[in-house]
């Protein structure tokens, strides 16, 4: 435990360094102009980092699998479906695009409803739902993705450019007015999370041991799936889809902080993802001079790490 607290303090220091570097490096023109803008981006990155880490770690606990993430369920695709639908049927000048709250609300609602529909439908249908659920999620994700591409091909090219900015993760055009709502959702999920941290620890022993120890397992799985999808929906609506980030940070956290305690694991994963996002954004803005986006960097590093994980897991089982 002593060692883990040192590691966490190290991560916190790293976060502070990254934030200071990003906030003050090469500040040109009016400080009063640039600094608050940078801080809004930092706030968005912190919220996104925490939401993605939190949802991925709990999701992996209930699926007992370290390669799955909530986006495998097709949640990211649902976000694309909503935005494409709006552009296709209402157009870029409609209230659904202009009013950021409405757009945010619609996206979150659609994603949570999609998740709920999946879980409700399948929890009634089958007693061993997780793998079937994931398989169906993946298939639906692909289906929705193809459908979205179909619609996008028919959209007016100028409109499509507007849509594209929504579908790529970017911290340079954060919707600042959505920050407060996102913070609110995050706080609520923390209050719930505080009550279930110890239950999550027990659930990592597997379904049968958890039930033996008095956990209402199936209901908890349901609650956590919903929590997870709300968090992912929030972060996606705020900055766009970042598929690999959750996978990388959750696994780095398991490897770095060898423990079963979710409070430590989630904190660690959150700190790592803040470092990755703020540090990555710093690189994008000052080294690459905005010639690339952070999602490209994250998907590149994440892709390599994912392949490494697959090779390692197949060796371990083979």
């Amino acid at each position: 435990m002593q060692k883990n607290s040192t590691k966490l303090i190290f991560l916190i220091l790293l976060v502070i360094i990254c934030v200071l570097l990003y906030g003050f490096y090469d500040i040109k023109g009016g400080f009063d102009y640039a600094f608050p803008r940078r801080m809004i981006r930092v706030a968005a990155m912190i919220i996104t980092g925490i939401a993605i880490s939190y949802s991925t770690v709990v999701f992996q606990t209930i699926t007992h699998n370290r390669i799955l993430t909530p986006s495998v369920m097709g949640l990211d695709s649902m976000y694309e479906v909503v935005q494409t639908f709006i552009y296709f049927f209402a157009g870029s000048m409609s209230v659904w695009i202009i009013n950021k709250y409405l757009n945010f609300g619609a996206a979150v609602l659609a994603m949570v409803l999609f998740a709920l529909f999946l879980y409700r439908f399948l929890f009634r249908a089958d007693k061993h739902p997780i793998y079937l659920l994931l398989l169906i999620g993946m298939i639906l994700g692909t289906l929705l993705g193809s459908f979205v591409t179909f619609l996008q091909v028919m959209i007016d090219p100028v409109e499509y450019l507007g849509l594209q900015t929504l579908l790529f993760a970017s911290f340079t055009n954060v919707k600042a007015e959505l920050l407060y709502i996102a913070i609110g959702i995050l706080l609520l999920s923390f209050i719930y999370g505080y009550r279930i941290m110890k239950k999550l620890d027990v659930m990592s022993l597997g379904r049968e041991n958890a039930i033996n120890l008095g956990i209402n397992y199936d209901r908890m799985v349901m609650n956590i799936l919903i929590l997870s999808s709300i968090l992912i929906a929030t972060s996606t609506a705020l900055v766009g889809p970042i598929t690999f980030l959750g996978l990388i940070v959750a696994n780095l956290s398991y490897q770095y902080l060898v423990t079963y305690k979710h409070s430590v694991l989630i904190l660690g994963a959150s700190l790592i993802s803040i470092v990755a996002l703020v540090g990555g954004q710093f690189l994008v803005e000052h080294i690459f001079e905005l010639r690339t986006t952070i999602s490209v960097i994250i998907n590149f590093v994440g892709g390599i790490y994912f392949i490494y994980l697959l090779i390692k897991e197949s060796r371990a089982s083979g």
Binding site: V202, S204, G206, N209, I211, N212, L213
Partner: protein
């Protein structure tokens, strides 16, 4: 008291357990025996609420198991299944401490720690309490899981083939510990056993299942005789007495 009333469970169209009614006598070791696929594990899973029965009910102290609050039930009945794959790194002590979860909700007080220490001592694990589970042998791991269940301090302990993967010495050790739990501490143990001779030597009562149906239910000496065993296993099994223990010598029996 645990009463099993008319339990039935089907997987697909195949009934795995069919209309089984048994009463578990408190303060005894009851063994569930029977050939492969007889439904022993399924029955145990239903008793311990890991699996929902299609029809029938299980009563703990006259109350339906489904009506018990999950945490309260966890303070009365514990269950250990055969396959225990865990993908988090835990030390022996951390695992055994989980047994106190129904009481402490993860915040162990000194009394909880006392139970954890006792359970580890019972299972001879004190020396390796800080070792990680993935560093242990199959038998040591099994003992760690049993220690967790002992730390849970329940009146009823249900075990699904706890002797799997254990050598003779550790099997005997575990059966003796279970006997002690019953004789000294007044616990009730229900155990699924594959080896008929462990059932014969250590249990007070035997429940025999075959093709999902209850075929025999009685005191050990009523079941361990060639006639009853023929009904259960379709084999002629000679019995030999050795130091007051009835041993089934089935190794070269005629199979049909």
């Amino acid at each position: 008291m645990i009463e099993i009333k008319g339990l039935t469970k089907q997987f697909g169209k195949k009934p795995v357990v069919e209309d089984v009614s048994v009463t578990i006598e408190p303060g005894t070791i009851t063994s569930f025996i029977g050939p492969n696929g007889a439904g022993k594990s399924t029955l145990l899973s239903m008793v311990s609420r890991l699996l929902e029965a299609d029809t029938g009910e299980v009563l703990l102290d006259q109350n339906n198991v489904k009506k018990w609050k999950s945490t309260e039930f966890a303070k009365r009945v514990s269950i250990l299944r055969q396959a225990n794959y865990i993908n988090v790194r835990l030390t022996v002590r951390e695992l055994v401490s989980f047994g106190r979860y129904p009481y402490s909700k993860g915040r162990l007080n000194s009394e909880d720690n006392k139970f954890v220490d006792q359970a580890m001592e019972y299972m001879n694990l004190t020396d390796m309490q800080d070792m990680y589970l993935d560093e242990l042998s199959g038998g040591q791991k099994q003992r760690a899981f049993i220690a967790m269940v002992i730390a849970q301090d329940t009146d009823y302990i249900l075990l699904d083939e706890p002797l799997n993967n254990l050598d003779m010495k550790h099997s005997v050790q575990i059966m003796k510990i279970l006997r002690k739990l019953v004789d000294d501490l007044g616990r009730t143990v229900v155990i699924v056993l594959h080896d008929i001779n462990f059932a014969s030597v250590y249990s007070d009562r035997i429940v025999a299942l075959k093709n999902g149906k209850l075929v025999k239910n009685g005191a050990t000496n009523e079941i361990i005789n060639s006639d009853a065993l023929r009904d259960i296993y379709d084999m002629d099994i000679p019995i030999q007495e050795q130091n007051g223990c009835r041993i089934c010598v089935y190794f070269n029996s005629q199979t049909s």
